[in-house]
Amino acid sequence: MKRFAPLIVLAAMAVLPLLGLSSYVMHLLILVIMWSVSGMAWNLLGGYTGQVSFGHAAFFGLGAYCAGLASFHLNLSSWYGFPLSIPFVAATALVMGLIVLRLRGPYFVLATLALGEIMRITAENLTDLTQGNLGIMIQRTWVEKTGYYYVILGVAALTFWVVKLLAESRWGYYFVAIREDQDAAESLGINTTLYKTIALTVSAVITGFSGAFYMNYMGYIDPQVVFSLGDISILTIMVVMVGGVATYWGPVVGAVIMVLLAEVIRSLPYVGTAYQTLFGVLLIVIIIYLPNGLVGDRQTLARLFKKKGAAV
């Protein structure tokens, strides 16, 4: 049964649009799936391999700009952003890896944070290429949401499958070994630099897809949005932390919660504009009480609810 869970979820998701959901609900679903993709991608590097990146907006934004610029400068369909983003994002990840993967712990985190910001500032200032803060506007393919829904659902299914395949392979064992103890891993014959680079590159390319999709779906991007530290890099981390680090379903659960929470909080009077503050509070609570996220600590959660039930 458990083996078929992903297929069942996929089938259920595939028939959802047939229910005639409102455009707003479809929009939320699309965002949830898109953030699941970003979360699953980040999880490969941050969750399994233990290299916490605060700079994944670099890859998200690059993917988005590949799609946007393909349409804006080359007059190609913005869907070419998906294949086009692969070489650009992979090359960026390799160069970035060369620099930051030598660093460990907090130094690695700070370096990735800086690189995300470098990408944003570069995009803001390369005005001939990117139009800077004016942003890029493209013609969207569909007015209806259903097409976008199926595209991102396909990307998500592919991502889920790739992550699962990797995590259960030799590479997956190596990723986790590196997370648990880099020196031990190295002395057990694991080329830690190589496998960290692989994790970073695969993670980056998938994040780039998420960004390319965002461009296609939203029709407008600017550097402040797609290279955003708070709204992209940190939100990606939150999705994984809330859902469950190094679990298959964690990023999906996290994406559901974060997207819905953002919608709810933003619509509240008075506190709406402070939604990032509330996210921060939520993150602290999660780290203290459910350090493995909702999926990772589901036993703890179940016990909590049982106790309450018994007391009543």
Partner: protein, 240 residues
């Protein structure tokens, strides 16, 4: 032919000579013990052999090939595995997964790696604990897990860094049997140990370090009779 040759190796940290001009060799199939007081440079020497440090001077040869300067994972692939004095289990992985991760070095398939890992868990007496998350293992078994992981890389030379420290007498006996079993398989062993009874009973030869210098080398009988060693490390018989 010597399996491993340490040739005039010196290791400096700033102005401090952690190792100065150390030379010795390890013969195929023997158990060579490395002893000496705390801070003598034993673990530093392991770190040089295993590739964590590149020696400041001199070189290390494994099977007549210069290995100093290679990365630890390359040296491991050539056939040198090690354990750590301060154990480094992959904490949030099960005991079995710890060993599988190492066994993947010589096995392309997961089934092959798992089969190899199970054999090794049987050999090291960790079979019943295979599903346990290694964080929860008691120290004695964690020390054995270190050995199991190193064995899973199918080494020709295994470096054991204080694999007996902190064990109770019963665990000690189990570990001694494991070491003897490793030797029987034809794996050469280099071991750092403070437990003199163990050292004297299992080792073929002993190298003694003191303040980063080699002060003696010989059979257990020669070493226990060497006045330099007695003064530096073993202690005077009448004083004890």
């Amino acid at each position: 032919m010597a399996l491993l040759t340490v040739d005039k190796v010196s290791m400096f940290f700033g102005g401090l000579a952690a190792l100065s001009n150390i030379s010795f060799s390890v013969e195929q199939g023997e158990i060579l013990a490395l002893i000496g007081p705390n801070g003598a440079g034993k673990t530093t020497l392991f770190n040089v052999v295993n590739g964590f440090y590149k020696p400041s001077r001199g070189e290390v040869r494994f099977k007549d090939r210069t290995v100093s300067g290679l990365k630890p994972h390359q040296i491991c692939r050539l056939g040198v595995a090690r354990t750590f004095q301060v154990v480094k289990p992959l904490q949030r992985m099960s005991v079995l997964d710890n060993v599988i991760a190492s066994a993947f070095l010589r096995s392309r398939t997961k089934a092959g790696a798992e089969r190899r890992a199970l054999e090794i868990l049987e050999f090291t007496g960790l079979m019943e604990d295979r599903a346990m998350i290694s964080k929860g293992l008691p120290l004695g078994k964690r020390k054995r897990l270190e050995i199991a992981r190193a064995l899973a890389t199918e080494p020709e030379l295994i470096l054991l860094d204080e694999s007996f420290a902190g064990l109770n007498p019963a665990e000690l006996d189990v570990s001694i049997e494991i070491i003897k079993g490793i030797k029987k398989k034809g794996v050469t062993i280099m071991i750092i140990e403070h437990h003199m009874k163990v050292i004297m009973s299992i080792s073929d030869r002993i190298v003694v370090l003191n303040y980063g210098q080699k002060i003696a080398e010989g059979t257990p009988a020669e070493i226990s009779a060497n006045p330099l060693v007695v003064e530096a490390y073993l202690g005077e018989a009448e004083g004890a």
